[in-house]
């Protein structure tokens, strides 16, 4: 692909304008173009939530080089914080002023809470790297899930495996995001309203990530990944910089989780299993570790593909065999596994890597051939 055009000032402006129009119209194109358009918009909403998760994990894994296999725990923390403060579940126990806070305040609380959990995970693993770090973080993710599963006794906090129901939709700027709304002759359903809401936060998170990447902090993360001892000897406070990466990454997950809880209206520990952590990691690796556009692409591909499969595979099977032979859900894992293997063999740097990473891998090829 040639992006030279997009690099000019003029080209950049045009690219962004086109992108903005597409993003603004996307839900309407989907509802207008497909019979089950609403479920497509819903899938896109989820894709946006996953983009936030992938960008958060990208800070920890892609920039700072710390392999985290329990990342979904922060999504869970954000989701449960939102759920507990915005549902009838704890309304009788908690003081009234705590229930149903202002939406922006709520998201800040979710981000801060998840960030604190990030530090909680980060502190004991400061000295670990690679495989050891992966194992501990994996355990951390599972511990959080098991806590959520069992914290219904002696005091019922999380309502155990049943999860928390009747979570309030977002109310913000006089809009009830749970109710259809008429505007400009269009009917904005919940999935549409949430699309714009989640998109706004997604853009905010992309912006924050971009700014961090090209900053003193972002460089310190990359230095840490490149050579921890040298980074240490250059006067980087390794402990702080690592904890900051864990906290920043976790807080993105927390925001995404809070939006997820309100969108879904229901949370339970089942949504936060190890497989989800692995999926988010796949998005980062498949797209291109440390490269924002790549990570976004990875998140979109990994989260949308199953939806496409469902819509393509089922009619296809019925056409050929007259019945459903395999469940698309099973096929998803099969295709997904194959795709990962192929990509890692052919393009280990990811589908859309940063220039730095592409150089890193391709110069190895040249060296090998020389």
């Amino acid at each position: 692909m040639n992006f030279a055009f997009m690099k000019t000032r003029h080209g950049k402006a045009i690219t962004y304008a086109v992108l903005a129009v597409i993003l603004a119209l996307l839900p309407w194109m989907l509802t207008g173009g497909f019979e089950n358009g609403k479920s497509w918009v819903r899938a896109v909403d989820f894709a946006l939530l996953y983009i936030m998760l992938a960008l958060g994990l990208n800070i920890v894994v892609g920039y700072a080089g710390l392999l985290d296999l329990g990342y979904i725990a922060f999504y869970a923390v954000g989701a449960y914080v939102y759920a507990l403060l915005n549902s009838p579940h704890l309304a009788a126990i908690l003081p009234a002023w705590l229930i149903g806070p202002n939406f922006i305040v709520m998201l800040v609380v979710a981000a801060v809470f998840a960030g604190m959990f990030g530090v909680m995970l980060g502190t004991p693993v400061l000295k670990l790297r690679g495989d050891y770090l992966a194992i501990v973080t994996l355990g951390f993710g599972e511990i959080i899930r098991i806590f959520l599963n069992n914290l219904d006794r002696p005091v019922n906090i999380t309502n155990g495996p049943q999860g928390i129901n009747n979570i309030d939709k977002v109310h913000f700027l006089d809009i009830d995001f749970g109710r259809p709304m008429e505007w400009l002759g269009l009917t904005f359903d919940m999935v549409h309203l949430y699309y714009y809401l989640i998109l706004a936060f997604c853009i905010f998170i992309i912006f924050v990530t971009l700014r961090l990447q090209h900053s003193r902090i972002g460089r310190a993360w990359v230095a840490l990944r490149e050579d921890e001892i040298a980074a240490n000897a250059m006067g980087i406070n390794i402990r702080n910089v690592k904890l900051l990466a864990f906290a920043m990454g976790a807080s993105f997950g927390g925001v995404s989780g809070a939006l997820f809880a309100s969108f879904q209206g229901f949370v339970s520990p089942e949504s936060f299993v190890l497989m989800e952590s692995i999926m988010v990691l796949c998005m980062v690796v498949l797209g291109g570790m440390g490269h924002i556009p790549g990570v976004i692409l990875g998140a979109i591909i990994v989260s949308i593909t199953p939806e496409i499969l469902r819509d393509v595979i089922n009619p296809l099977q019925e056409g050929i065999f007259g019945r459903r032979v395999v469940d698309p859900e099973n096929l998803r894992m099969l295709i997904f596994g194959l795709a990962m293997i192929i990509i890692m063999l052919l393009r280990p740097e990811g589908l859309w890597p940063s220039k730095r990473r592409a150089r890193e891998f391709h110069e190895h090829d040249e060296e090998a051939q020389a």
Binding site: S215, G218, R219, E226, D227, G235, I236
Partner: protein, 255 residues
Amino acid sequence: MSALLEIRGIHKRFGGLHALNDVSLSINAGEIYGLIGPNGAGKTTLFNVLTGLYQPDEGAFTFNGKDLFRKKPYVVVESGIARTFQNIRLFANMTALENVMVGQHVRTRTGVIGAVLRHPKARAEEAGIKVRAQELLDYVGIGRRHDELARNLSYGDQRRLEIARALATKPTLLALDEPAAGMNPSETEGLKKLMEKVRADGVTILLIEHDVKLMMGLCDRIAVLDYGKKIAEGVPEAVKNDPRVIEAYLGVAPQ
């Protein structure tokens, strides 16, 4: 005149190995102080305990009147000691410019808020970091390679980049661990000029090096380590003729 760096009675053991045995040195401001000794004598270990990468067992470091014994590396760097590594440790997949920009971390302040909001102060700091990084690359003579990945630089240029990155921390003492290792004579000559320039600009240098000719022409004073012990110290000429030094290097006492 009191010393810039006072190293007193330092011990470091690795299990049964006594890598540093009661080492004391004092380095004056403005000098080039050489540290020589056979392989495995403990020179690199002295750098490592001084810069906080390893914990010394006993002793004292006083730098500029400040206690630096068993301090964290970033405290040591903040106080004004920077180092390079015997086996080059650059940020291999960052450009030369970025490497030097990282070196300025300890002298700059922008945090998450500043990075995200990019307020005028943060902007000015970031611009300053870039300008300074380019100046330092020019200073060590690799200004035109600024956009090259560190690992693609020639060996000599990598050594120079490590010096630039260390200078970016604004040190008063620059500790160089075998900077001429693997260089050809003309590169070594260039390196010598660079070190003289650095010293002329007010930075004290603590230098580990094997190249005796280079050391004799460059250093004001030299200390010799052997099996973790300081066996000699003084002006180059005296050290060169010290029988203990000759024995340490040749394994026999001079006739």
